[in-house]
Amino acid sequence: MRKLITNIIGALSLILFVIAIYMAFVYAPLEVTMGPVQKIFYFHVAFAWTSFIAFFVTFAASCVYLVTRTRFWDTVAASSVELGVAFACIILTTGPIWARPVWGAYWTWDPRLVTTLILLFIYSAYLMLRGAIDEETKRGRYSAVLGIIGFLDVPIVYFSVNWWSRTIHPDVIKPEGAALHPHMLQSLYVALFAVTLFYFFMLFRRIRLEELRDEVRELRKSILKES
């Protein structure tokens, strides 16, 4: 049953990805000042949004793990961090590709850029920490604490960097509505859906992988005991 749902989500994400690429390149109009380089925006924003979901899932799963102590939630938290880190790397490569022709520099010390970079550091440290602990419950407890602290730190990092330097990052989606051509906005939404579904597809697969690993470990143990 779970396998079926995972596969459906994966298939949906694949279809949506194809549609999103079509919409971004053909359906959405060409941006007047930036030209074709603006096309990267649809996926840049989609991955940024999804990486934030990923780290939030880690935060929530870490809280649940500390209360319930079921291994499942530790697996969810760790899997979500791996995806979040991968997505953060995508943001930090697509961003500069766009920024070089538009801002004239690959990197500026803008609040959003710095916050994403710090986020990447925090959760890379999380993965490093997991690699340094063999004992299962200890690994779960330690990384859950880091998952909670890291997430709570993000808004403070953002505000302090915001005061430290002025932003030049475009703010396309504003509270009073998006400053975008309707076709562009529709393309963005489709890309958002595609990437979000892709995240959940990968998350379910990653959890399954971890469960299979556990199974193998158990089997190996029982075989060694018999011989």
Binding site: L66, I133, G150, L152, D153, I156, S160, W163
Partner: protein
């Protein structure tokens, strides 16, 4: 001295007593922080105009590095002879161990900071006498923030392979707000600005201190159980 606070004080005083007898932490922290400033001096032209702009950053790099050096020791020294086991068996809430350690670590780091300041003033030719009070306030607030998370992570790193290498990697990204706020406030104070100018940095420091002391209070229990 049986109240919660009294017991926390006991842990802090015990660390102080150990330090007075062994003198292993303060000396190395002190020498290290002066050394960092000396090495930075080689990187910049001594007596150049821009040194006043980079000096606050140098001061904080020195203080943060030396504090990290001390944090590495805080639970590592308890590992010998299973002292940590003894602490956990004492009739004290687990969080009491945390606050006791925060107390002693903050105290050591503040002593090092206060002894570093005269060297800083001499090396960079900056007069600190008029700005001593506001500067002390920033140092105290930033040190509490740094130690609050640092002590929690020290409890993590002590139970981990390659813990001494992992501690700074865990700690520094989380401490980015503290470091930014401390450097900014320090440079404004050295520029002779009024408190209204840098009050928002003080607010960030206070906010960080409160949030992470509370979060550590809740989560420390999960780190030392076994």
């Amino acid at each position: 001295m049986t109240s919660y606070f009294g017991r926390v004080m006991h842990i802090g005083l015990k660390d102080l007593k150990v330090e007075i007898r062994s003198k292993e932490r303060l000396y190395s922290m002190m020498v290290f922080s002066i050394l960092v400033m000396v090495i930075f001096n080689f990187a910049f032209d001594p007596g150049a105009e821009y040194i006043r702009e980079v000096a606050p950053g140098i001061l904080w790099v020195a203080l943060v590095f030396s504090a990290t050096l001390g944090l590495n020791k805080t639970f590592a020294s308890e590992k010998e002879q299973d002292c940590l086991q003894g602490l956990m068996l004492s009739p004290l809430d687990r969080s009491g161990i945390y606050f006791g350690k925060v107390l002693s670590n903050t105290f050591f780091s503040l002593i090092v900071a206060m002894l570093t300041l005269p060297f800083f003033a001499v090396f960079f030719n900056i007069s600190l006498l008029q700005v001593f009070m506001p500067l002390t306030l920033v140092i105290v607030l930033a040190t509490i923030g740094f130690i609050a998370v640092g002590t929690l992570f020290a409890a993590i790193s002590v139970g981990v392979k390659r813990g001494e290498m992992i501690l700074p990697i865990l700690l520094f990204p989380i401490e980015v707000p503290v470091i930014i706020a401390a450097v900014k406030a320090t440079s404004m104070i050295l520029d002779g600005r009024m408190m209204v100018d840098y009050s928002m940095w003080l607010k960030i420091l206070i906010l960080f201190d409160i949030i992470f002391l509370m979060v550590s209070f809740v989560t420390f229990d999960y780190l030392v159980e076994e």
